[in-house]
Amino acid sequence: MEKKIAVIDYGMGNLKNVKNAFNFLGYSAKITGDFEDIKNATHLVLPGVGGFKDAMATLKRKGLVNPIKDAINEGRKFLGICLGMQLLFETSEEFGYSEGLGIFKGKVIKFDENAVNLIPHIGWNDIEILKPLEEFKGIENKSFFYFLHSYYCVPEEDIAAAVCDYYGKFTACVKKDNIFACQFHPEKSHKEGLALLKNFIES
């Protein structure tokens, strides 16, 4: 089957680098906010850098909440990256309280400023793979990925696929049915990141 990759454009952060990574791997990917494109895509990617509240407001304003939920409910392959992972949860404590897409049970919280020396968590950190998923094929446990975030997800169901240790362990990847999501940026994580993107498409 022909692979149609849609990188969902809702005006948050640098989407081009996600597209660049897919192109480099030999896939064509479209940055799009168009309902038809999203409806026809075989693979959807929700990237994003920035604020949770703004992102949700933008998704709502652009009418993208239902198309995203439909794609997920129809069982199409879905990848959330960084903020795109966080948005899949029920709530975030960013700026008090914000509601997310609610695909996963759980919340998004900030690193504890009293316990964590440097916020945001910027740089390369190794992950501990908890479940031997197709998405991790060819990727060694303890491989390094590039992180850039101040908030992290706390799932309230058994979906954690990898954890990362930054002043304590937090969830780095989740997987449930057709959805995979990661807190790090695979498009900026060198060979391991590219391998993960390839696995997402091919698995």
Binding site: G13, N14, N117, P120, W124, F144
Partner: protein, 251 residues
């Protein structure tokens, strides 16, 4: 555990790399895209491009270059040099840069830091500080190190942190180009007064200098230019040395 980062820096002028390039296996030694790919292969953790092209007309060509680099390397990269307006930052990020570094214009107009951090997120904004010891204090110099701002570097570091900078690129002008090691005292003072990563720059000669700035000053990253240009002090051998000393690096 978070790894310490090694960041090669490339000075770009009119789309060519201008600092002492010595690679023989490159198609064009001065081609920034080829060099970026080479460093990416050699496990550089990030790349820093400093555009030192003088005229503003020619500076537009940097955007095309940024675009080309972003299509070929899959590690974060920052671009700096002559960034003076929000629009410059917007254009660089839109062309594919992950971070933008601001120097002189932040000193002239500190509010640009707040505005940029709010608009693009703190993590995309790097503030470059060129510091030099004058008497018994470190002062901030601007305009490529030509002009003494009279501002205390430690105070300035705290200010840029409070205004929302995501990282500080700290260059010791006393050490830059001397190959006598990083300025440990200055780096350590800045690291201790902010809660964002500090990238140490200026003076690196070998792996031991990098070890020193990680261990003694706790810098989050070490930046260097010329030392990575020679095969015998490539990034991988340096990282292997650091790892053997118990420093967490991505290998």
């Amino acid at each position: 555990m978070l790894a310490k980062r090694i960041i090669p820096c490339l000075d770009i002028k009119n789309n060519e790399v201008v600092k002492g390039i010595n690679f023989e296996d490159l198609k064009s030694a001065g081609d920034p895209v080829e060099l970026a790919k080479k460093y990416d292969d050699e496990l550089a953790d990030e790349l820093m491009f400093l555009d030192i092209t003088a005229s503003s007309e020619k500076r537009k060509t940097i955007l095309k270059l940024v675009e080309k680099i972003s299509e070929n390397i899959f590690i974060p990269f920052s671009v700096g040099g002559g960034v003076s307006e929000i629009e410059d930052i917007h254009n660089l990020l839109n062309s594919g840069a992950d971070k933008v570094s601001i120097n002189t214009s932040a000193v002239i107009n500190p509010e640009i830091i707040d505005e940029a951090a709010k608009k693009f997120g703190s993590s995309t904004i790097v503030i470059a500080i060129d510091a030099k010891k004058v008497g018994d204090e470190y002062l901030v110099f601007t305009h490529g190190g030509k002009k003494n701002s009279g501002i205390n570097a430690i105070r300035w570091a705290k200010e840029v942190y409070n205004r929302g900078a995501g990282e500080i690129l700290l260059t010791s002008m006393d050490k830059d180009g001397t190959k006598s090691g990083y300025e440990i005292n200055l780096t350590s003072m800045v690291v201790q007064c902010v809660k964002i990563p500090v990238i140490a720059s200026g003076g690196a000669r070998d792996a031991r200098d990098i070890e020193e700035v990680f261990v003694k000053a706790d810098a989050g990253a070490a930046l260097a230019a010329s030392i990575f240009h020679y095969e015998n002090s490539g990034i991988i051998p340096i990282k292997k040395y650091l790892k053997s000393k118990g420093i967490n690096v991505r290998l």
